[in-house]
Symmetry: C2
Subunit: 198 residues, 2 copies
Amino acid sequence: MKHLRICFVGDSFVNGTGDPACLGWAGRICAAAQQNGHEVTYYNLGIRRQTSHEIARRWQAEVLERLPADCDGRLVFSFGVNDTVYEDGQPRVALQESLRHAREILQLARTLRPTLMVGPPPMPDDEQNQRIAWLSHQFALLCHELTIPYLDVFAPLLQVKDWNAEALANDGAHPRAGGYSALARLVQDWPAWQAWFD
Amino acid sequence: MKHLRICFVGDSFVNGTGDPACLGWAGRICAAAQQNGHEVTYYNLGIRRQTSHEIARRWQAEVLERLPADCDGRLVFSFGVNDTVYEDGQPRVALQESLRHAREILQLARTLRPTLMVGPPPMPDDEQNQRIAWLSHQFALLCHELTIPYLDVFAPLLQVKDWNAEALANDGAHPRAGGYSALARLVQDWPAWQAWFD
């Protein structure tokens, strides 16, 4: 039996901020894998408010602490929403910078460990969602170029009532258990994730 | 209402290794706090195999990434079992070195954020448990000197059948849901933890 050690690297959505179960989507899919008989060591490296710039700065040191050379380590990235937040009339990170950071992260990551990327989810804000949709599309092209499997969750989550409703009822950004469960199902049904457990 | 961001720093027992629910004791007590109506951001910084030496080296950078100055950040440490593992006829970290690392970590931590320490749990190994018991006793004295609340979990967990039985049936070290739930209850019943939510 394989024993995977998986680092989930990203922002508050990776952290699972707002989830009363303290699992988020990453914890839910790892718990499901364990309950299917797989041994998984679950390292959650999601940090609130972090943009691609901040994640690019710190991900490698944190991952290297957790994945010694002799373990079967895996990487899952998900970030981008914070880049698209407007502050003082401009995005916290401009689109071209987001793509530069993502390229820098993913190019190195794939030389270290099998790597997946999950796209940024929607916010309850139509204008910001235009920027997130475009960023997700660009991330998809980048991952295609780098042959890293990419899961667009933006479009499917727009159809999930809980995602938006829970975010609005909570803090205007983060869902609760229903939203995170819906995102977890999307990742769990993803062949690229399932292939890690074949 | 307070919104705490809590970093749990330590080893595989902090990570919750072996727990099919992917929560461990730290996730369980944060989920319980959320279900009691408190908002908690849960950052788990437990890393497998790490001794006090390795934790001393990396904890500060990881905590600073997660606790910006304007948030109500808190710190919970728990480590020591890996220090007491014998390799080549001697402990991975000698007792005096463990205490030196713990002092270095805790002295700095308490100047940054409200800090708690949970002692090392027992292993299914009587000889190692003598060293863990002694280390836990020394940690208690150190924390008393530094006025950091310390919870001895070694003695009470020796009485918990699940802790030992699950560890033996699993990988010889880490319990499953029953053991982690028992440890979670010990921390949840601890007045020093409860005081954070008054």
